[in-house]
Symmetry: C2
Subunit: 216 residues, 2 copies
DNA sequence: ATTCATTCTTGACAAGTGTCAAGACCAATT
DNA sequence: AATTGGTCTTGACACTTGTCAAGAATGAAT
């Protein structure tokens, strides 16, 4: 039933602009903005609709229920966010360049989209209570871990060293720093940007140990 | 008005057992159990009352509103949890003893009270949206940071070394590892305990660098 | 035994929730 | 012009929520 629906509806677009899938995404992005401001628990379908161009009933036309909408939003966010550092990784030619580029991007991310990130942490916490969220949260978390690992391995490469720790541990460290800095940033505490920059700048080199050039 | 109330009511205890303050705590502990199972957002005052020996109306006798109850619960939890590692710190006589003692306690904490910890992370995430929670969450976070710092400095002392990083950074790292392990533990993923033990066992020594014995 | 303040229960209220059915709207097809 | 079927709005539903008022229950003080 769902597949038939999708096929038929995506064939034509009557109202507004764009196809069925495009409007699904439009609704999801509108929902993401609202979720980022109010948080997962305090956002109702009517809040979402009020901040969009639709009425509150339309949600059940595009999504089965609230949970499906949320999960769709999260997955959509994932695809946007997962490769944020790829350009930094590919364009850096020196270890120091990568280091400052990474730190800059982290700071930019922190200060430009804090609401999206607090929503992510909100959902990740909720996944500890709601089993329905666990799989998707886990997938995103692993995606972010891979993203960080690409940075770490590339830095090791450029600095002719080897990562001292495994992917998972490296991610939890940067993630912990970022989450802590995000709370400070949202609470308007001073020195947040300087702190996270200093932390990242010292952590990344510390995670890599020079390779023994005499061997092999 | 609140002070008068407290004075008078704590003077005598009619119903049940214990004073006014003791029953406040009893209600709060009951609330903590329920909150730990359902999460902050999905727990209603009726849920809390249902899992206690009281009726749902009694909450407004002991607390002004829901937020005051939550904050009281959190602070109560804080006092319980804040000095969990003190005995490990004071009783350890060698660096390795402290290391394994710390790791054991972390594992024990993780596996014995996972619900309390997911509640804490839940509230900390909520504090990014609700300003009313920020101060208390911040205080607890600093208390936990101090707790970790006591472990780190003591380890440095016993291993005749110096911490390489500052208190805040050390805390975010251990906290990140713990939170990640907690999600794995709650999702019944295998190897969680071994992972966190390995991480902690390697991280704590890595945070300390041998002191230069020739100087001073 | 009566009084009395404290403690607790009950029932109700208004507001807000997710969900859904009924139908209006509208563009393309006939 | 009439029909068709995807799109969207409206209004309602059953339910839950925090809050509070009214009063019952309780045990100490008189």
């Amino acid at each position: 039933m769902a597949s038939t629906q999708t096929e038929q509806k995506s064939a034509r677009s009557r109202r507004g602009t764009g196809s069925y899938d495009e409007r699904r995404i439009k609704l999801a992005e509108s929902a993401l903005r609202t979720l980022g401001q109010l948080g997962y628990a305090r956002t109702s379908l009517r809040d979402i609709a009020a901040n969009s161009e639709f009425s509150h009933g339309v949600v059940h036309y595009y999504f089965r229920d609230k949970t499906e909408l949320i999960i769709f939003c999260v997955k959509h966010y994932k695809t946007q966010c997962m490769h944020r550092y790829d350009s930094v990784v590919s364009e850096s030619t020196t270890a120091d360049g990568l280091l400052t580029g990474f730190a800059d991007k982290l700071v930019q991310t922190l200060s430009e989209e804090p609401s999206m990130h607090r929503l992510w942490y909100d959902l990740r916490s909720q996944s500890m209570f709601q089993e329905a969220l666990r799989v998707d949260v886990y997938d995103i978390d692993r995606g972010l871990e891979d993203m960080i690992w690409r940075v770490v391995t590339r830095y090791a490469e450029l600095s002719e060293s080897r990562p001292m720790i495994e992917s998972r541990a490296a991610y939890t460290m940067f993630d912990g720093i970022f989450e802590s800095a995000l709370r400070d940033f949202l609470a308007d505490r001073a020195g947040t940007v300087e702190w996270i920059r200093a932390q990242v700048t010292s952590l990344l080199p510390a995670l890599c140990t020079p390779v023994d050039s005499t061997s092999s």
